[in-house]
Symmetry: C2
Subunit: 334 residues, 2 copies
């Protein structure tokens, strides 16, 4: 008796903002697990902006998704059957085999979650790739110091909320940027010293001059566009920009414009460093050693925006680019 | 009996490309040197792109030039009279008191040239600020290694010609970019492995793909614009960009466009570092220890474009932005 796997496939490559019709929900029969394989049922699927890049044909740092094959992404699930000595029924595992409700995979494709009573979906967000991205950007790349001023764009997103909180733990002054009054209020509860609602701030330059009169030492950049230009104007001498994301460009079909004021990089001897978390996993243990106890003690918080059911995954993904999430965007399976 | 100093003053702030009428030649009486002061006659004036920034009112890394006061810049001269114990008549000195044929200054504003039979004007170019800029960019910032591929824009300029030669001494593969067939030929005599004439290369992307199929590890950027976009597309993983100049923008009145493909910085985890030589003068001795013997042995070469007479200084300066120089642009005084 074989089990059915329901999975979201990419039907065609999106042009600009993805549309629901770019995706299709298919049911396929799963094979029986062979020796060394494990059958997993997913409970949580990760919804991440970087996935947009893999939906295009262009070569990026990971190969493009194939059409008419299940999409991939972070997922948390439970072992239903195991023919691998490292996993037993009931184990909680993370994998990159998301966008589907169940799968059969080799044990080597799975990671058992650390022992903790924290909600398992944290390992897709604040304790997973986005949290590790924030930690690596602040500590490994920018080497943020107490007393410095940090600006974070998309501060209410999965990476941003962790960047804000980790920076406050270092003793930095934190300015966030986000797109709604609710998100502004939420970021203040996380400890942000100031928050810009960019949709209601016609003069970003003047606002940064007011909020960071001594200049910005570190800019954690997730967005691009007008905020990057304004930040360049207000960076401090020898400031550092962690270039983590340019979400404003991801659906732009190549019409994105770049910052016109790169001369600031020379004037202020700014460092800009592109960040991909894949360069930094060797420090994941150090990150978890700080972050798990901090979550257990309530000293770090995580917000989730949860969408219900596999069929909602495309719409949740599209919502990322419409600012529909606060904190980590997740899909919960029934 | 007081001596007259002829000096170029800024009459009004240029809009876009400077015009000869933005400048005026004035004669002023020099005071007699007081105790601690020195009278110097300049022989060589330095003509540098960075001076354009100081002609605008906008705050930059150095204050704007004052109107109706002599402009400033590198100069090499000879001591005519000295009331400072550190200088005697006939000493060759460098100063930042260019754009004039003579001046009286405190001894502390002068630097005696190192003892060498090399032409003194080298200390305005290959052995001065531009040469030090190239050396600091390659060694202190990019840490260029043997076997790596370096791309240099404005490769036939004062900084570029030194970057090309210093990189060949390291054992790098060097690709230069310049704007005429003569300059292409000259750069090949300096050892460049390949040279792009950007004016005759409609598809910079394809040309870089052909010349650097394994990618560019280090880009020494003096220009900006289309070459920066093309270079970003062909940078290698973890490539480094030394942002030294953006000469294409200096006269742009703010209409400059930035690179539309900054996403490459994330994909390839590129480092971009703004460079000003002022951060690196503590290493000037190390640079001269390498470069003076290399020039004396004929292992380094310098090209000069020389304009005659103080009155030619504004036109020489404008010529920098029209590609009129190969190597260092200088004005020789009679």
């Amino acid at each position: 008796m074989s089990q059915l796997s329901h999975q979201i496939q990419l039907l065609r490559r999106p042009s600009g903002l993805p549309a629901p019709d770019d995706f299709t929900l298919q049911a396929v029969a799963l094979p029986e697990p062979q020796v060394g394989e494990v059958l997993v049922a997913n409970q949580w699927l990760s919804v991440d902006p970087y996935m947009r890049g893999r939906m295009s044909e262009a070569k990026s740092y990971v190969p493009p998704f194939a059409l008419n094959a299940p999409l991939e992404g972070g997922a948390i699930g439970t072992v239903l059957a195991s023919r691998h000595p490292g996993f037993k029924v009931g184990d909680r595992v993370s994998s990159m085999l998301g966008w589907r409700d169940s799968f059969v995979a080799k044990g080597e494709q799975l990671t058992r979650l650390p022992a903790t009573d924290l909600p398992p979906q944290l390992f897709l967000g604040a304790l997973g790739m986005p949290g590790m991205t924030a930690w690596a950007g602040l500590h490994q790349v920018a080497k943020l110091q107490a007393g410095e001023t940090l600006l974070v764009s998309a501060a209410s997103g999965a990476v941003g909320t962790m960047a804000v909180q980790l920076a406050k733990r270092v003793g930095a002054k934190v300015i966030g940027s986000t797109g709604s009054a609710d998100k502004v209020a939420y970021l203040k509860t996380l400890g942000a010293d100031a928050v810009i609602n960019y949709r209601e701030t016609p003069d970003l330059d003047a606002e940064l001059a007011r909020l960071a009169p001594e200049g910005i030492q570190v800019y954690f950049e997730n967005v691009g566009g007008a905020m990057l230009e304004a930040a360049l104007n207000h960076m401090a001498l020898h400031g550092r920009i962690v270039l983590c994301g340019l979400i404003e460009q991801y659906n732009s079909n190549g019409e994105a414009s770049g910052p016109r004021n790169l001369a600031q990089v020379i004037r202020k001897r700014i460092l800009i460093q592109g960040l991909l978390v894949s360069d930094h996993w060797q420090h994941y243990g150090a990150f978890l050693a700080e972050a798990i106890p901090a979550f257990e003690a309530g000293a770090l918080q995580s917000e989730e925006t949860v969408s219900q059911g596999l069929a909602s995954m495309p719409q949740a993904f599209i919502g990322l680019f419409q600012g529909r999430n606060t904190g980590k965007m997740l899909v919960k399976l029934d």
